[in-house]
Amino acid sequence: MNSLANTTPEMLVISPENGVLLAFRRDYRLAMRSRGEIIQALVFFVIVVSLFPLAVGAESALLKRIAPGVVWVAALLSVLLTLPRIFASDYADGTLEQLAMSPYPMATIAAGKMLAHWFTTGLPLALVAPVLGVQFGLGTSELGVIVASLMLGTPVLSMIGAIGAALTLGVRGGSILMALLVLPLYIPVLIFGAGAVEASMAGIDYAANLSLLGAGLLLGALASPFAVAAAVKISLD
């Protein structure tokens, strides 16, 4: 193990896993202390999805056809709105400097924070989505694909989003700028995620879409902690 524990007798084991775990536990606990924010993001998701029938009409065939796109776009926007939670308050109260100075590598802390963010945003969204799918007249198997695609896709949204959130820390007009940076990068996730649901509706094989989402998840998990750590350091400098 990568132990630096011999400097003082009281050192913890500075291993990457511990860094991830520590950061995850901390952010998860903080999110749970202000549970309202998690629920607000969910309510936002439900409201945005509910706007569409009001805007395009209640014709059930049309609603069913646009359902995958609507659910996915709404999920994407909900995640986007929660991105500041990853770093903004830590940046404002000085905690982010402390995390950057921690002997745990920043990449591991970033990974823990992204995991906690997904746990408190993407995961609840994926679990609520079937209810909305029912409102749009989707069948059981399609609902399953919606959940699966969101489960695989929303972690990628947290990862890409964390890069944007870290780069725009303390920048004027930060949140709109962050959306500008992040949304174009979200496009592949949106295409494969909504595509999976559409494929299952059309009776085509949707496994390819899910595999591509999985590949994206893997690539993100490998690369994003380092990109986020670099972005945090740039923003703190």
Binding site: E10, M11, L22, R26, R33, G94, M101, Y104, L236
Partner: protein, 254 residues
């Protein structure tokens, strides 16, 4: 306290400009085990930037930082393992209690401290009755005191403190000075940016970052008229580091 290996921090040729304005150029100094360096300077003279640079948060334009005589890259693991930085902000989460904040900070510092010792430390800084209060309900001074408890427990040899006495009352300042003295006597090091004149008993030097200002601290002259300038460095040789030998008093405090 913990016995420290003979640590030292040395800085050479440090140059930094911010927004096109040079803050300091070719700055050099050393902090040895048991010594404190007090940073002086007007607002905007670069005290915070220098501390953040020592903490590895800000990258210098030029120059090197040596820990135990080996070069440290920005935010090197060695520096992060050995230094503790307390900035302007208290780095506390409003939703966590005093003791939760302390425990979190310590685990991210990489040190393992029992709950009992944490409670003791909070008691020492006068927060024993407030330990289960969420940080939101603590006063600014009380929040600062959590930072003091963290200093005591962290066991890090190098303390980088940015205006640590801000918001502390007179008793809090006295407590802070006691804590610093203990740390230095145990062989620790501190770099403190402050505008207060502090009566630290351990060896203390001052570094003025005001450009083209030769600093002969009145305090230093009063204490050791014959001490003289031990080490010359600073902003292109203009500012100086004045050695304040308080060894006798330090021995007294033991």
């Amino acid at each position: 306290m913990i016995a420290l290996a003979p640590p030292s921090l040395r800085v050479e040729n440090l140059t930094l400009s911010r927004g096109g304005r040079p803050l300091f150029r070719r700055l050099g100094f050393a902090i040895r085990s048991g010594e404190a360096l007090v940073l002086r300077g007007a607002n905007g003279s670069g005290k915070t930037s220098l501390l953040r640079m020592l903490a590895g948060l800000t990258e210098a334009d030029e120059g090197e930082i040596f820990w135990d005589e080996s070069v440290c890259k920005t935010a090197s693991a060695k520096l992060r393992l050995n230094a503790l930085y307390l900035g302007h902000a208290n780095a506390l989460k409003d939703d966590l209690t005093a003791i939760e904040n302390l425990a979190d900070a310590l685990s991210f510092d990489g040190v393992n401290v029992t709950q009992a010792r944490q409670v003791d430390a909070l008691e020492r800084v006068g927060l024993s009755s407030r330990q289960h209060l969420v940080a939101r309900r603590l006063s600014q001074g009380q929040k600062r005191r959590i930072g003091l408890a963290r200093l005591v427990l962290s066991g890090k040899p190098l303390w980088l403190l940015d205006e640590p006495t801000n918001a502390l009352d007179a008793e809090g300042v006295a407590l802070f000075i006691r804590i610093i003295d203990e740390h230095l006597l145990a062989g620790g090091m501190a770099c403190i940016a402050t505008h207060l004149s502090m009566q630290i008993h351990a060896p203390m030097r001052e570094l003025s970052l005001d450009e083209q200002v030769l600093l002969e601290s009145s305090e230093a002259q009063a204490a050791t008229p014959a001490a003289g300038i031990n080490e010359v460095a600073g902003v292109d040789g203009a500012a100086r580091v004045t050695h304040v030998a308080h060894i006798a008093q330090a021995a007294e405090a033991t």
